[in-house]
Symmetry: C2
Subunit: 243 residues, 2 copies
């Protein structure tokens, strides 16, 4: 049975990190809310989350269904899929290292979300815009250099070479780093232009990932949604700045 | 060789979720920054994080050293230790379910941190106090019910019984839930008093964990640091409120 990915329709969001892994592996999967003809939208997803009988319901999307197992949280889904898709070193220890890297990406993504929603997810961006400016300034000036500087360094200290963040072949962490760079460039073009020359390794990794045949095909397809202001990486020009 | 836990001295913080698992298992471990006689403080930890040669350096503490392997991020450390300490169901699928639950706790803990640091970690609390009030109000009124209501429901829908969040025996997720309840009660006593009756299952779980012999011994020992205003769960009376 094909993997079922449950996530919102209309945004890349956190689901995109899972989609990239499935697309790179070239296997069949069902993007439940977007499946043509199933007419399910996000109904099936919300129904499952609200179930009063299903064991171990997930807190939030994305989650993956594989038969009777439901795996929630991006890093957990990728930890689960990694070996099945050949997207993580086979060594069990390196799998935990990959998971640690992916969880740092999780933290970065949460901070990106909070640049536009620093007070409450339940409020509109417009109602927390001033605080969003302050938080984004700190994010651009302090956090982007800290996170990207870290990944750049890990890349350079990979004993198997700096073409990949871990091991000697592509892993799901490389795919996620591509998405982080892509998303940050969309959201904060001025900031990323200024930061750009500091991260030659990450930029090369980004370009290598986007040139992979399955990824290139995916990025050119209708399955790849455009970034927009309902997702995690949002471009609000008033938040962007040159550090 | 004993496990080495690398974390800040002086606070429970995120390290506490790992300490609780090691203490419950009753095994020897080295809390590196606090080891008497080693005189290391956090020096060894920072040195490792700043290494320009070590492969796969961690982004932030806590991290665990097991021989030549360094595992970072609380959920990843617990995923790694769980089977070794007998603190997770043996079934591989349930291990991923446990990890999903633990990652929801990770998200909750990050939101607790942001109640007192909503704009920037680099600023003092005093310099972001007004925004902290707004963020905390949303956290208390919307997020605590959402998170704890979720865990309460998962507890009640555990096919093996509601004494544990997963499976029929104690897991590291139960220990972490104890710590979450304990921390929230410390940080937001008014809020938690008002919310209290909504979470009978979680309260019973909290009490059962604190009564376990190894945990009770640990909580009464000097190894258990008191909550304080340098940690994640901070009690600032001006932030607490009755929802």
């Amino acid at each position: 049975m094909a993997y079922e990915l449950y996530y919102w329709d209309g945004i890349q969001g956190r689901g995109e990190f899972v989609r990239l892994a499935l697309e790179e592996a070239g296997i069949k999967y069902i993007d439940v809310a977007r499946e043509p003809g199933r007419g399910m939208g996000t109904g099936a997803m919300l129904e499952l989350m609200k179930s009063r009988s299903e064991p171990h319901i997930p807190f939030a999307p994305p989650f993956l269904r594989d038969g009777d197992l439901i795996v929630s949280h991006v890093a957990n889904i990728l930890f689960y899929l990694g070996p099945k898709l050949g997207l993580v070193p086979a060594d069990d220890k390196l799998r935990h290292v990959a998971n640690g890297l992916q969880l740092t990406i999780t933290d970065l993504v949460a901070e990106v979300h909070d640049t536009h929603h620093p007070i409450a997810t339940s409020l509109y961006y417009e109602d927390q815009k001033d605080v969003a400016k302050a938080r984004t300034k700190a994010f651009i000036c302090e956090r982007i250099p800290k996170f990207l500087g870290y990944f750049e360094q890990v890349l350079h200290q990979n004993p198997e070479g700096s073409r990949h963040i871990i091991g000697k072949a592509l892993s799901y962490v490389d795919l996620s780093l591509f998405q982080v760079i892509e998303g940050l460039r969309y959201a904060f073009p001025k900031a990323m232009k200024a930061h750009d020359s500091n991260y030659p390794g990450l930029n090369a990794l980004h370009d290598a990932v986007s040139a992979r045949p399955n990824i290139a095909t995916y990025l050119g397809s209708k399955r790849r949604l455009a970034f927009n202001e309902d997702g995690i990486f949002r471009h609000y020009p008033e938040l962007d700045l040159t550090p």
